[in-house]
């Protein structure tokens, strides 16, 4: 489905994400990588309290915005593709030690070469995948 380019809300939302990452580093010395925080929580690593609070805060704040703005969730996406996507995202972010937030925002903000490379690889993979699914095979999403 086509979407509108929303530069102002993108910049404001992005700034809030950057503020969140800076706050976590300043207050606890931690990196705001969602996959890492989620994995440590599920694995039962020590120091789980702040991680659980982070994840709960994330879901509640997003939910408050959805309720206020009336943004709908997506429905009807093909189930097998959803499961395949979820498995790959979970597997890949654990193997590669980070996702869009950990490598993409915190890693780049730390000027990490490792994270820059990770970002280039997952962006290239994402662009290629959408190209193949929408324009070569067609009709998936």
């Amino acid at each position: 489905m086509p979407t509108q380019f929303t530069p102002v809300s993108a910049l404001i939302g992005g700034a809030l994400i950057g503020l969140a990452a800076t706050w976590l580093l300043l207050s606890l010395g931690r990196i705001a990588g969602i996959s890492g925080i989620l994995n440590s929580t599920v694995d039962g690593d020590a120091g789980r309290g702040w991680r659980v609070a982070f994840l709960v805060g994330l879901v509640i704040a997003a939910g408050a915005w959805f309720a206020w703005s009336g943004a709908p969730g997506r429905h009807g996406f093909p189930l097998p593709w959803l499961i395949a996507g979820g498995l790959l995202v979970g597997f890949g972010t654990r193997l590669g030690n980070g996702c869009t937030s950990g490598h993409g925002i915190c890693g780049l903000a730390r000027l990490s070469k490792r994270s820059l490379l990770a970002v280039l690889v997952f962006m290239a993979a994402g662009f290629s995948t959408v190209y193949v699914l929408r324009h070569v095979i067609g009709g998936v999403a």
């Binding site: 489905m1 979407t3 530069p7 993108a10 939302g13 700034a15 809030l16 950057g18 503020l19 969140a20 990452a21 800076t22 706050w23 580093l25 300043l26 207050s27 990196i31 705001a32 969602i34 599920v42 120091g47 702040w50 991680r51 982070f54 805060g57 994330l58 879901v59 939910g63 943004a71 709908p72 969730g73 997506r74 593709w81 959803l82 499961i83 395949a84 996507g85 979820g86 498995l87 790959l88 995202v89 979970g90 597997f91 890949g92 972010t93 654990r94 193997l95 590669g96 996702c99 869009t100 937030s101 925002i105 730390r110 070469k113 490792r114 490379l117 993979a125 995948t129 959408v130 999403a141």
Partner: protein, 137 residues
């Protein structure tokens, strides 16, 4: 303040930022990745906005050298570039391009309570545990 308060503040700012930016809409993410279709560049500006704050923010915290409670900064994460990083990032990118969710927006979508958000997050957790078993990470 206690760590859980800091964690909750950071998480709430993060979740609000994701929702405000529209990145919780997987169609916006897929349209960013679709250069040959109805391209929506919003995601690039989300990263730009985040880095505009986090680049100087991280530099300032690093110069400060201590957390708010006065503890020294923990050592930064690994800097090794290896096959695991490249393969993991490639698989993540493929999954991201299939469904349009990366981990943060997927979790935020649990607030919608949609079946697809729940299915995606369960699959993500399963994939992560699988990687833990296979690659012993």
């Amino acid at each position: 303040m206690r760590p859980i308060v800091h964690g909750a503040i950071a998480g709430a700012l993060f979740g609000l930022g994701l929702a405000v930016s529209g990145m919780t809409d997987p169609d916006k993410v897929l349209n960013f990745l679709d250069l040959a279709g109805h391209w929506d560049p919003s995601l690039a500006l989300v990263m730009g906005g985040a880095l505009a704050v986090a680049l100087p923010g991280f530099a300032w915290v690093r110069r400060r050298g201590r957390t708010l409670s006065g503890d020294p900064m923990p050592t930064p994460p690994s800097t090794t570039i290896d096959r695991r990083l490249l393969l993991g990032s490639a698989l993540f990118g493929i999954g991201w391009g299939i469904a349009g969710y990366c981990p943060g927006p997927a979790l935020a979508n649990l607030a919608h309570g949609t079946q697809e958000a729940v299915v995606f997050v369960v699959a993500l957790l399963a994939g992560s545990q699988l990687a833990r078993l296979v690659a012993r990470t």
